[in-house]
Symmetry: C2
Subunit: 443 residues, 2 copies
């Protein structure tokens, strides 16, 4: 084999980074379970026609074919899923009779998109999703619960604090309707480009695609300018003088989200009325999330409420969900050198090998340590002790165990401090902070 | 959307089964880490030419293409990996300069094969692999360590006990050479079919493909008949009267594996001299694993030593590894009804909702419980308490928390026993066995 090279857009972490990723995923998962979310994994593939229901995503899909497919094989094309929401909606419809509603599930899996790779944008990446779906109707209190869960999950990690930007699609739609715009969807798509193209071009786009007058375009931009760390955003919207029942509903729902967040974690949420989320299946609250100090990274956790994603005939399952972009978050923090681990292996103790003949004795000591939950390796060879200690040092293994020879007691050495004490493998335990690798933020 | 249907060969578990799968994967991972294996994930794709290096697997590969690939896009075809060994060997070659050797890694990921689906055989399935590779040479004691790790990993689960069948390719090759067979590889491929086609057809195949005489074919079959729960297999082989230095080396290595296993877990391993493993990259010890009482399932955990899988120019990384077929194991045990979980959600406590106005109080109680690691949900609606209790019952949630109203103390009820006690959300803790769902074997 010639020396292989990386494939652009398909990141692979070295073991220390993978240890950090596992730590992060374990913490996220643990928080999701504390909130009662049940685990789910869906298959990596969906029928291509399901993936293409939304035309705008079609360019991102990887299609599969069996290398040796027969010419007469039926055309049941499969593609790799590009998110976890579409497969989840399909799973709910397929298994509705076997699930209990409201159904809370989390799902932590790879997804694939054939996009052009760039910093923090991959073709294969890991997402951690939660969704709550109910049959027929979904009470709005679930929209207020989502930010608390994300606040706890990401707040438990050694990463910069987050700020969740929230908005509500009903505010947009009600406000645009109240303004007299005939095509609120077109107006939303124009305003969604605000950060990318600026207010002047958005105003032109509003005129062109949504038929907005100058005054209407200005009113749309004024709404998008509103941002507040508390429920005061509602007064600012009302001061614009637009009236519509759907607008009132959206304002009340967003006030509830802001109040629940303030009671749980002050400063966690900000009402930001330009947040739209491009995907057209959202119908209520929408979320984006920034890492404070890393706002240039864009959103690392996004989602919203959807009423029409999972429906079939008379069955309708409205839901609300959010997705943490784990690979994106870690790729950006690894790039900034902002996450480290105390060692590159799980191993806490290396059992030194006095001679190859004594390997069985060393294995017994290692077994006794492992039985009590202490990750242990036995030295690969009976090299000089100095060389065996360097083996541990290079990996960050904190302790070397020296089996007593000729009736002497075993000893264990902290190779960082040099301290060495007598110890028995069925009794000695390292300090808690040395039992597992420690993950910490930079500085 | 019309009601979706399953895709053959792509299994999906319902949440209770996924909870069992996670429990199983957590225990396996924990054992791997106790032995010092570092985690790794590789991308799902490899260049197609790498996947096709072994011609016999080519029919199983899924090839990817971007749906919107431009006509002039360079032809850099990618396929989904069909195992975790080939990607690992590639990763080692690609990153050798950044790794420390011997390198112990575990890898728990989905793999894909375009095979015809059948019971226990999937097109998408989860594998849990460990491998140890070293630079240039790999001491044989690692071949003896692998069964101990698997014994601990699978022995920690509520599944039937396992039996690991071990053999060594050097015994085959040395014995066939000692017999005077010119093409030991062809003889091995014939004997590998013993379980499928029986001794008469194997004898015919040995004559046809390996040029064996009647006496040579009989001698090959006699070797394959040898099986022993201890190192006595070596005497049985020597009694056949074939002499070869490679045979002696293989016997010594296999004796070592059997002795190490007997010292660690009596009865764990059996030397079974018909085990060959079809994949042609194995060069030393080979492993297969049966669940006792479920031998008809075939092997649920297989692997072996390979000397030539990861090599490039002068760089050579011999290794030994084994792979637990997690989906296969669980699919068969689920099918037999042999694994259950005590509830279908992680939730330990449901906080009942006296009225929608009191939701903020209920959220505070839930937060206090979660802060101490107790998975808690708040009731979706302020229905009658009987209905809220049934919500918990249907999911197997053991406790319902009743917030005190008008100054009364909170109470918590074990809805299995009916016992109800006063409790404070920042102090009460459920018994340890109710904190997390319990996974257990049948009967």
């Amino acid at each position: 084999m010639s020396k292989p090279t990386p494939i652009s857009g398909f990141p692979e972490w070295l073991p220390p980074q993978r240890m950090i990723e596992q730590y992060v995923v374990d913490r996220i998962r643990s928080t999701f379970e504390l909130y009662g979310f049940a685990p789910l994994e869906t298959r990596a593939v969906e029928p291509l026609d399901q993936l293409l229901r939304k035309g705008e995503t079609s360019k991102e899909v990887y299609v599969l074919r069996r290398l040796q497919a027969a010419a007469d094989e039926p055309d049941d094309a499969l593609g790799l899923h590009f998110d976890l929401t579409v497969p989840f909606a399909r799973f709910v419809l397929e298994n509705a009779g076997k699930l209990t509603f409201p159904f809370r599930r989390y799902q932590i899996q790879k997804v694939w998109r054939g996009e052009r790779p760039q910093e923090g944008r991959y073709r294969e990446f890991l997402q951690a999703d939660i969704d709550i779906v109910d049959r027929d109707t979904l009470p709005p209190h679930y929209e207020a619960e989502i930010p608390l869960i994300i606040g706890d999950a990401l707040g438990s990690l050694p990463i910069p604090p987050i700020r969740i930007q929230v908005n509500n699609r009903k505010i947009f739609e009600g406000y645009y309707r109240g303004l007299g715009l005939a095509d609120p969807e077109a107006a939303l798509r124009a305003v969604d480009k605000l950060d990318k193209i600026g207010p002047d071009k958005v105003a032109a786009l509003l005129a062109e695609t949504a038929g907005a007058s100058d005054a209407q375009a200005k009113a749309c931009l004024r709404l998008a300018e509103i941002s507040a760390p508390d429920a005061s955003f509602a007064d600012a919207v009302r001061a614009l003088g637009v009236e519509d029942p759907l607008l009132d509903e959206g304002l009340a729902e967003l006030v509830r989200v802001m109040e629940a967040a303030a009671a749980h974690t002050p400063g966690l949420c900000v009402a930001d009325l330009k947040i739209a989320r491009g995907l057209d299946y959202y119908t209520g609250t929408v979320y984006e999330t920034q890492l404070r100090g890393y706002e240039r990274f864009g959103s690392i956790c996004s989602g919203g409420r959807y009423d029409n994603l999972a429906s079939s005939g008379a069955d309708r399952f409205p839901g609300v969900g959010i997705s943490i972009g784990v690979s994106r978050l870690l790729g950006l923090l690894f790039g900034a050198g902002a996450l480290t681990t105390s060692r590159s292996v799980p191993t806490s103790v290396l059992v030194a090998l006095p001679s190859e003949e004594l390997r069985a004795d060393c294995d017994r000591a290692a077994t006794a340590l492992r039985r009590r939950g202490i990750a242990t390796e036995v030295s690969p060879t009976a090299a000089k002790y100095g060389k065996q200690i360097r083996f541990a040092e290079r990996r960050g293994i904190p302790y070397v165990w020296f089996p007593g020879v000729d009736g002497a007691a075993d000893t264990v050495k902290d190779i960082r401090s040099g301290e060495q004490v007598e110890a028995a493998p069925d009794a000695w335990t390292p300090p808690a902070q040395d039992l597992h690798p420690q993950v910490s933020g930079a500085g």
